[in-house]
């Protein structure tokens, strides 16, 4: 039997019972469709997470205390280019919570005490006004830069620059508003004040040595390549200044490491989603096998006739396997189209206005199609072999 004859014969058989073929196909369609949709959601979320974290800057390092507090002395030490040539900028932070209110409006916000370096280290952009300057820090000025969300909560769409707000009862003047950010560690819901103001006016914890403690130090390496070198310099400087001989009392976080961790987690999620979708494809395959077995029984006489006409076992096998593969491949194609449509629809409908989007990489449909063919081969073989093993004499007698 030539390939063309096999294909023609299979189409002939499939069109004999269109409804049944369509139902068998549906299982595969749903399976492939869910594979495509879930995978593209998964890929989309990977993209998003990567984007969010990279938004922070991949040369950003974060030092937090894990024992004795970090202090402004440490910050000064880190700023010394002699010891830390790979470090571009150092931005210490003190964090606290506070209530901000104007005449008739109140909101809760994270209040962070920062230095002017913070703007560049964290890749921030101003919406309106100016950022906290060195004079503000030196003079313990009661000025505040609002996050976009905080500004909107308090002032709606008005520009609050120059307005007075009360933070935990103290009067602050708004000097600027940050541009709205999306992403990991967004500062939209924060209010930034000079670090000295935060320390002396709002919270204030002194170390036993009388030093000012900070909650976190953001460090910007010169570039992505010098990140590792910068980590070493930070560790050296801090070990010296903390006189550490054994375990470090601080931890340095690398943005890249966080990114890797998130990507790993997300990859697990994608694989999980893919597996769930794959199971539905498997169920579809079992449906195909079921239909093919019924079909073989029903067509026993036809098989007998074909055998009497000289069909070899491999001709019968080829015919039935091709039928199964047609079903799964057809289902695969429809499933890919449905999956792509669904992924696009999710984008347009549920993810509209968000930074999220599903992403279909070109290999997903190709893999889905190959898998659907494989499913047809796998689940079509057994019924086909059953058909080919029929005894022609009995098959011809079958009513």
């Amino acid at each position: 039997m030539s390939p063309l004859d096999i294909i023609r014969t299979s189409i002939y058989s499939l069109t004999a019972n269109r409804l049944r073929a369509a139902l068998a196909l549906l299982g595969i369609v749903l399976g492939v469709c869910s594979v495509i949709t879930l995978m593209s959601i998964g890929r989309g979320s990977t993209d998003r997470i990567t984007e969010l974290i990279q938004g922070l800057g991949s040369n950003l390092l974060t030092v937090i205390p894990s024992g004795d507090p970090l202090t402004l002395t440490d910050v000064d030490a880190l700023r010394d280019p002699l010891y830390t040539p790979s470090i571009k900028a150092v931005a210490p932070q003190i964090g606290t919570f506070g209530t901000i209110h104007i005449d008739n409006n109140t909101t809760q916000a994270a209040i962070t005490g920062v230095t002017p370096e913070f703007l560049n280290v964290r890749n921030l952009e101003m919406g309106t006004g100016t950022f906290i300057g060195t004079p503000h820090v030196e003079s313990l000025s009661e000025v505040v830069v609002l996050g976009a969300q905080v500004s909107e909560d308090l002032f709606g769409n008005q520009d609050p620059t120059g307005a007075e707000v009360r933070i935990n009862g103290r009067q602050f003047r708004v000097v600027g508003v940050l541009a709205s950010q999306t992403g990991f560690g967004s500062l939209d819901d924060q209010a930034l004040i000079p670090i000295t103001t935060a320390y002396y006016r709002l919270s204030g914890q002194r170390t036993p040595g009388g030093d000012i403690s900070v909650d976190q130090i953001s460090v910007q390496a010169r570039d992505v390549e010098s990140v590792d070198q910068a980590i070493e310099e930070i560790e050296t400087v801090l070990r010296l200044s903390h006189r550490i001989t054994d375990a470090d009392d601080f931890t340095v976080f690398n943005q890249q490491e966080i990114l890797d961790t998130f990507e790993e987690t997300n990859q697990t999620l994608v694989v999980f989603l893919g597996t769930v979708a794959g199971i539905s494809l498997l169920v579809g395959g079992i449906g195909i096998m079921n239909i093919m077995l019924v079909s073989v029984t029903e067509r026993t006489r036809e098989i007998g006739i074909r055998q009497a006409m000289g069909a070899k076992r491999r001709d019968i096998v080829a015919q039935f396997v091709t039928e199964a593969v047609f079903l799964t491949f057809g289902g695969g194609i429809i499933g890919v189209i449905a999956g792509l449509t669904l992924a696009t629809a999710i984008d347009g409908r549920f993810l509209i206005g968000t930074e999220w989007s599903t992403r279909v990489t070109s290999n997903i449909p190709v893999i889905a199609l190959i898998v659907s063919i494989a499913v047809g081969l796998f689940f079509g073989i057994y019924p086909a072999v059953r058909a080919a093993r029929l005894n022609p004499i009995e098959a011809l007698r079958y009513e």
């Binding site: 039997m1 009497a308 006409m309 076992r313 022609p392």
Partner: protein, 248 residues
């Protein structure tokens, strides 16, 4: 005596063939054929008759290479069948045996033409369409080629069956109760076609039947009973066969 006086090897050569079926768990054995020996030569028109259970269906299955004997030897066109694999048997069926069934056994959704093309598909024949058309013309169905079996009468369906059997120019046309499902008029028509194929086209025909008058159309009647040949009679031929003509 064979109707052909020349020394050609027989098309069908059955030697001491027995077929034993094991029933149940193998304790009960049914001997469907018991030491049958038959030679059939090119161009013969043979009827195999016998009551139900006489073994004629079993014999037909073996002649048609659908089954192999338990013991004894069977040669078709000089090829030993009893040791063949399933694939080789299928090959022999596709090239050497043309089946005509009682219930015509056409594929219902294929046209007459496609049904006739079917055996050639498995034998990788070239010019299938042309050959199928010729075969259908031979059984006077040239104007019904595109009809499906359900659109044809019983006699026409059986004629499609005959066209399908002879399209690949088989060594033997093997008809199993070819008129079993037909009325008198159609029976006569089918038997005439078979006779014509034998007399005019020289096709070797074996008809398996239980009807005496169907068998009477053949030149030679082999009677089976209880799995054994109990008589093998040749009628004097009213026409000279090809072999006889050559002998003149």
């Amino acid at each position: 005596m064979p109707t052909k006086p020349n020394n050609d090897a027989p098309v069908i050569q059955i030697r001491d063939v027995s077929k034993v079926y094991e029933m149940g768990d193998g304790t009960i054995q049914v001997r469907a054929l018991d030491g049958v020996s038959i030679n059939i030569h090119d161009g013969e028109y043979v009827a195999i008759i016998g009551a139900s259970g006489s073994g004629k269906s079993t014999l037909m299955n073996i002649i048609g290479c659908l089954d192999v004997p338990t013991s004894g030897t069977y040669h078709i066109d000089g090829q030993a069948v009893e040791t063949m694999s399933n694939n080789r048997l299928a090959d022999i069926r596709s090239r050497k045996v043309g089946f005509v069934f009682q219930t015509h056994n056409l594929l219902p959704r294929l046209t007459a033409l496609a049904n006739v093309e079917l055996p050639m598909m498995y034998g990788h024949w070239p010019n299938r369409r042309k050959r199928a058309e010729d075969a259908l013309n031979l059984v006077n169905l040239g104007d019904r080629m595109d009809h499906r079996p359900t659109e044809l009468s019983g006699g026409q369906q059986q004629r499609v069956g005959i066209a399908r059997a002879l399209v690949k120019e088989p060594s033997v046309l093997l008809a199993d109760e070819p008129t079993g499902n037909l009325d008198t008029a159609n029976t006569a028509e089918i038997l005439n076609i078979i006779s014509d194929l034998n007399h005019e086209n020289g096709i070797t025909v074996i008809v398996v039947t239980h009807e005496r008058d169907v068998a009477a159309r053949a030149d030679r009647i082999i009677t089976l009973s209880d799995g054994q040949v109990i008589s093998d009679e040749t009628k004097p031929s009213p026409l000279m066969t090809k072999g006889e003509l050559e002998g003149v």
